[in-house]
């Protein structure tokens, strides 16, 4: 039998002394590191856009592409059309769509306290696909005034209907975030089943169109669409930025956040509205590119943590960067062909994401 024979008088518990006040405050150093990372991501993004524009079925020298971008009047007509009307809108579309979807996913994960939440898992993408298929298979226009834009408008209307349902449920008293996530999953299955039913009865031609649409593709990019997606990003980002401290606090848990004076329910509803628009518009333009909305935010979280002052730009940048890099790859894999980007996103994103998780050694959620 051993008996406790502690004899030394314990004066204080072991505490380390504060770091000497030599250089900058440790927190200032952390902030500087984070700003550097955000700038680094931006730089990578610019690089990726440049490579993206220089690649394509027609092979132009990088120097000529650059010259066309800077002095469009001096370039020959064909090259100007290819660079300015085809490649640049596609390259920028990848950036804006990636940014929107990643930001939407980031804030969904924040308000629903769920690492798997994204526009995809809450049924918005599935609803959009169903809406698009309604137009392509049955020729049903949910908004008959604009027949030329039947597919994207149908997709948008269905996605917003799904969002409205989720919103209505969330605004009921006593509904927990778990319930909202469950409803989202139920929506995914419902819309997928409805989509399958449409495909079953579709003509061969319509079926091909639906399948291609659901793969997600940037080939239908145009300056108008770039402008619209960029505009929602420009509108939504400052709205989130103004609530940065409150949104970060929500991640401490509902009880703690409201104890700090954060109006949790109101913030959650407001965020849900913004997120729905952020997700529905890009999806209705380019089809389902599901992966970005989950992985973009996680990469930002791993690199920058969840202080929204860095997480917010980080999520936009990492989503934009993944999709832009994917766009480069989708052209580079098969020279002369442009593979649908929805297929490549997961193929590129997963290895990158896995490397990050395993090398980082930090808990990611």
């Amino acid at each position: 039998m051993s008996s406790p024979t502690e004899t030394a008088p314990i004066k204080t518990a072991p505490t380390k002394t504060a770091p000497p006040d030599t250089a900058a405050h440790p927190y200032r150093r952390l902030v500087a590191r984070r700003i550097t990372l955000v700038l680094g991501l931006s730089l990578l993004l610019c690089l990726s856009i440049a490579v993206d524009v220089s690649l394509g079925p027609a092979r132009y020298a990088l120097r000529d592409v650059a010259a066309t971008l800077i002095w469009p009047e001096a370039a020959d007509l064909q090259m100007r059309v290819v660079v300015w009307d085809i490649r640049l809108p596609m390259a920028l579309m990848a950036v804006t769509v990636g940014g929107c979807l990643s930001l939407a996913g980031a804030q969904m994960q924040t308000i629903l306290a769920n690492p798997l939440a994204s526009p995809f898992t809450l049924g918005l993408s599935a609803a959009a696909s169903f809406g698009a298929a309604l137009a392509m298979v049955l020729g049903v226009a949910l908004f008959p005034a604009a027949l030329a834009l039947m597919v994207p408008i149908n997709a948008f209307v269905m996605a917003m209907l799904a969002a409205l349902l989720i919103f209505a449920l969330s605004s009921m008293r006593g509904v927990t975030v778990e319930t909202i996530v469950l409803l989202g999953i139920a929506l995914v299955f419902t819309f997928n089943a409805a989509l399958a039913l449409l495909q079953y009865f579709a003509s061969e031609q319509a079926l091909a169109a639906v399948v291609f649409w659901t793969m997600g593709s940037l080939t239908k990019a145009s300056w108008d669409k770039v402008a619209v997606t960029a505009a929602i990003l420009v509108v939504c980002t400052p709205l989130f930025a103004r609530r940065a401290w409150a949104l970060t606090a929500i991640r401490l848990g509902e009880a703690r956040a409201s104890a700090m004076g954060v109006p949790v329910r109101r913030l959650r509803l407001e965020t849900l509205v913004l997120v729905s628009v952020l997700a529905a518009i890009p999806v209705s333009f380019v089809g389902t590119i599901g992966f970005i909305g989950i992985v973009g935010p996680h990469i930002a979280r791993l690199l920058l943590g969840e202080d929204q002052r860095f997480f917010l730009p980080g999520a936009i940048l990492s989503g934009a960067l993944i999709l832009s890099a994917t766009s480069v790859l989708s052209k580079a894999i098969l020279p002369g062909a442009v593979l649908p980007i929805g297929i490549i996103t997961a193929l590129v994103g997963v290895p990158f994401f896995a490397t990050l998780i395993f090398t980082h050694g930090r808990r990611s959620w």
Partner: protein, 253 residues
């Protein structure tokens, strides 16, 4: 001087009413107040009601401080956010303030509370990687960093070792004395209550059953009624009162 007074306060979760008319005299600041009662008595519920998270009729009267000056530390401490300790405490300070930039004064306030709780060494660690007791210390730092004048803490020492329990209670006592703040602590350790808290509120089954000076409230009769425990209070050889537990009553007697 800050005071807190409850006047026929009702508290409910949806339709489920927990308190119908909780009433206390004005509790003055400058010292610690204990909130005691058995499990499920309604301690956390009363805190939530005072903090404005629960609906209900009645009046919570606060003098000498704003509602914005109230900070409430909830009971649970599980956190999954990817934030460092620094960021978490800064976050608590920045709520309700505008601007993304941190002034030197704000940074100094964060450093001061971390130093007082002796957790500066944890400053750059991730929240998710902390032990239960460390997380509780961070919660305390988050609660106090904005120097609130009205503090409600739900079992602030439940995860702490003996040394840190002592340190935290001493810190809270001097905080109350310095600032004149009303500091109410839900506690289960009645010896801790006797040592640190001047006033005690006892609740059971959604009713305030006693309010007053701690030694008067913690009578053997009340302990029997609240906990079905036979106890006595004796003075130790250094002169401080100690509660000694003799045994449990048969339930139902």
């Amino acid at each position: 001087m800050v005071t807190l007074e409850l006047d026929r306060v009702e508290a409910r979760y949806g339709r489920k009413i927990i308190y119908t008319d909780a009433t206390t005299p004005a509790i003055s600041g400058g010292h610690l107040t204990a909130l005691i009662g058995p499990n499920a008595a309604g301690k956390s519920t009363l805190f939530r009601r005072i903090a404005g998270q629960l609906a209900g009729s009645g009046q919570v009267r606060i003098t000498g401080a704003d509602r914005d000056d109230l900070r409430y530390m909830p009971q649970d401490t599980a956190i999954s956010a990817a934030l460092s300790v620094y960021e978490a405490v800064i976050l608590a300070l920045k709520q309700g303030r505008s601007g993304w930039r941190l002034s030197a004064g704000e940074l100094a306030a964060v450093d001061a509370i971390l130093t007082r709780l002796k957790i500066t060494a944890l400053a750059e660690r991730q929240l998710a990687e902390l032990s239960g007791g460390q997380r509780q210390l961070i919660s305390i730092a988050q609660t106090l960093v904005s120097r609130p004048r009205l503090v409600l803490m739900d079992e602030p020492t439940s995860a702490l070792d003996l040394y840190r329990q002592y340190e935290v209670l001493e810190l809270l006592r001097s905080y109350a004395a310095e600032t004149g703040a009303v500091v109410v602590l839900a506690l289960h350790d009645l010896n801790q209550v006797m040592r640190s808290c001047t006033t005690t509120i006892a609740v059971a089954e959604g009713r305030v059953v006693a309010v007053g000076p701690t030694l008067e409230v913690l009578s053997p009769a009340l302990i029997r009624r609240l906990y079905a425990i036979e106890s006595r209070v004796e003075t130790c050889s250094r002169g401080c009162p100690m509660m000694i537990v003799d045994g449990a009553l048969e339930q139902g007697t």
